[in-house]
């Protein structure tokens, strides 16, 4: 009995090491997504291309879409843009959320780099961003046909992220839509 008790500190140490080891793989900057499984928040905002008419969440209801949060001041968005162009070319419907940006600069960006978006919500104050819990652009939300957020990615969506996190779910949602 006493001899076994000598191993208690070792066991505690091993347990702690295991917990810390598992923690190594986690990204501490990533927040849990509270919006997954919830309806996309209601909004009524101008679009990037024109002051009028306003766009709302009803404008993409009935479709499986990606909502992509971007801005011209966001460096990682530059890296992400070609992938969005490619997805759009494959027929994926992408809605842009231009977040806390300048209208003229954002329009110039799309003219220069190509426009993968069906339309862009122009959220100059970041109000919709707060409702979405956005804390760093780019962010991408997969929204199903009934307007429920099904997946969220904080950070760049590249080939690997699309294949591992989005593709299967997206194809399943598209399949159930038809």
């Amino acid at each position: 009995m006493n001899r076994l008790a000598l191993f208690v500190p070792l066991a505690l140490f091993a347990g702690l090491s295991l917990v810390l080891l598992l923690g190594l793989d986690k990204d501490p900057t990533e927040l849990p997504s509270v919006l997954v499984g919830q309806p996309f928040p209601a909004f009524n905002l101008p679009s990037l291309m024109a002051e009028q008419p306003f766009v709302t969440e009803q404008d993409f209801k009935g479709d499986v879409v990606l909502v992509n949060v971007w801005a011209t001041w966001c460096f990682a968005c530059r890296v992400e843009h070609p992938m969005l162009n490619e997805l759009s070319a494959q027929g994926v419907k992408i809605i842009g959320l231009n977040y806390k940006d300048q209208r003229a600069e954002a329009q110039a960006w799309l003219a220069e780099r190509g426009n993968p978006y069906r339309f862009n919500i122009f959220d100059a104050q970041g109000q919709l961003g707060i409702d979405l819990g956005v804390y760093g652009a780019p962010e991408t939300f997969l929204v199903d046909a009934s307007g429920i957020v099904r997946h969220r990615r904080v950070g760049v969506v590249d080939e690997r992220v699309w294949n591992t996190e989005f593709r299967a779910l997206y194809e399943q949602l598209i399949g159930s839509e038809q």
Binding site: L31, P32, V34, Q125, I130
Partner: protein, 154 residues
């Protein structure tokens, strides 16, 4: 004098932090605002509260909190509003639930464990002292025998 200058340097950051002027219709909201921005965490930063952080998202959230205070929302409602968007991450004082009970309970557990260990050590310590006395008495007896002193037996 040098110490005073050093102290002044230490507090200069606080002066800057206070540079952002927040206007309230009712001055009583100010202390609630101050408590909230100090207790809520900046979602973009790892270890700063909303009061300390200069990031754009913190500025926006401070503005939101000010707006909600003006709209007569309670502290509870404001925290729930932010929690439903940014998850529990934003609360520096997390609620007790199935994910956090260990966090909240661990101080109590550690104190209980410490008490248990202490109690055990005390129980074990007594026989050791008694054994020590025996040894001393034996030594005395041997010493007496060696010295041949019959009268001073313990």
């Amino acid at each position: 004098m040098r110490l005073a200058a050093l102290l002044a340097l230490c507090f200069s950051a606080l002066v800057f932090a206070g540079a952002e002027v927040v206007e309230f219709s009712d001055e009583s909201l100010r202390s609630r605002y101050q408590d909230l921005v100090e207790e809520l965490r900046c979602p973009k930063c790892q270890n700063q509260n909303l009061a300390d952080s200069n990031s754009p998202i913190s500025k926006d959230l401070r503005r939101e909190i000010q707006r909600m205070l003006e709209e007569k929302m309670s502290d509870r409602e404001i925290k729930d509003y932010l929690k439903s968007r940014y998850s529990e991450f934003i609360l520096y004082r997390p609620e007790v639930n199935k994910n956090t009970w260990l966090l909240w309970g661990s101080p109590v557990l550690v104190v209980l464990l410490g008490g248990l260990i202490l109690a055990r050590l005390r129980r074990q310590a007594k026989p050791m002292v008694a054994k020590g006395r025996d040894t001393m008495a034996n030594d005395q007896r041997r010493l007496n025998a060696m010295l041949g002193d019959e009268d001073n037996r313990p």
